[in-house]
Amino acid sequence: MGPICKLNRLSSLSWRQFGAEWAFFDEGSGDTHVVDAVAAATLMCIEAGTFDASALAEQVAVELDLEPSEALSQGVAASVERFTILGLIEPAAS
C-alpha cells in the first residue's frame, strides 16, 4: 500500500485541453500549469477522490484507456511527486 494523497484543501482546478496536452489553473495557489495526459489524468483522479499509489495507477489506466504498465505507474508516481512539491497534493489526514 502506497501513501494516501488528496488535493490540497485550498485547491480548486479548472482544466482546458489542447490536443495531447492539458492546461489547468489552480485557484488555491494561483498557479497555471501545462501537463501531459498521464499527469492530467493523475491529478483529475486525485481531484475526484483519495487514492493510494497502486489504486491511483490502476484508475489512471482506466481513464486513459490503456493497459496498466510499469511505465504508466512510473509516470503516475512522478506526477504525484511533482504535484506534491507544488503543494497541490497533500497526504490525506488519517
Partner: protein, 301 residues
Amino acid sequence: MRVSDLSAASLAQRLGGGELLFRCGPFTARPTTGIASVVDNFRLLYTDYDLAEGFADFRFEIAPPAGLRRWIRPQVLFSFDGDRPFERFPADQAYPLFEWGFNWCIASTTNRYLIIHAAAVERGGRVLVLPGMPGSGKSTLTAALVSRGWRLFSDEMALVAIEGRDIVPIPRPISLKNESIAVIQSFDPAAVFGHTSHNTAKGSVSHVRVLTADVRRAGEVAQPGWIVFPHYESGAAATLTPRAKPATMLDLASNSFNYRILARLGFEMLCDVVERCDCYDFRYGNLDEAIAIFERLSERG
C-alpha cells in the same frame, strides 16, 4: 469637443490647473502639469482626442520637485493622487514620464480587462497581438504596420474584454527608441513625431502621433485573430513559425499584468483567446518584408 478646439493658452491653463479631462479608449484622465515640454507634446500628440465631462478614472501630475532640484540639474516627479511610484527623472524626460506614468496608472489599477503587455493592431476585423518581449522591436513593427493600413489599438497594452473576449482599443502615442526613431521617420515620412528625449534609461525616446481615424474609432472593438511573438534580428529573412497553443497561453499569462488577479476567469479568457488565434513566432530583419508577411496573413483570413 476636442483638444484641438482649445487655444494653446486655454490648454496650458487647463493642464496647469488640472482641469482638462480627456478620453482615451475606455478611460478618462485628468492630468496636471505646468511643464512646457509636456504641455507642448500633449497639444501635438493628443490633438484629436475628445474632451470629457464628469468622472476621471486617473488623476496624475508631472511636476518639478520642491527644493533645489527644481532649479539645479532640474528634475521632474510623477505623482498619482499623491502616490509616487517612480524615482525622479531629469526634466528633459518629462514627456516620456507622462506616458510611462499614464501606462502605470492603467496597468496597476485596471482589472476590468485582462491586460497583456503587447501591441495590438487590427485589419479586416481581426486583431494582431504582438507580445512585448524585450528586444522584439514590437513598437517599431507597430508603427510600421500602422503606416501601412493597420488600425492601432495600442503599442503597449492589449486589453481583453471579459464579455466576448474582444480586444479593446486604447490608442496612445507610439513610443520609439534610439535607431527606431530614424527608421520610422524614413519608413513613414508622414508620421508626426513629438520631441525626442535623450539619455533616458532606454536611450533616446520619441513618440508618434496616432492617426486621426484611429482615435475616432477607439470605440470599435474586435476579435483576436493572431498572436505573433516578434524577434528582430538584423539580416534575418522574415519567417513565421507556428507556435504550440499551451505554451503560448503560458507565455501570455506571464506577460500579463493582472492574470493572477483575474484567476480562473483570466485562465478561461486566455485559453479562449489562444484557441481562437493562429499563434506564431516571427523572426525578421527588414520592415518591408515583415509588413508583407502580415499582409498575407490578413488576406488569408
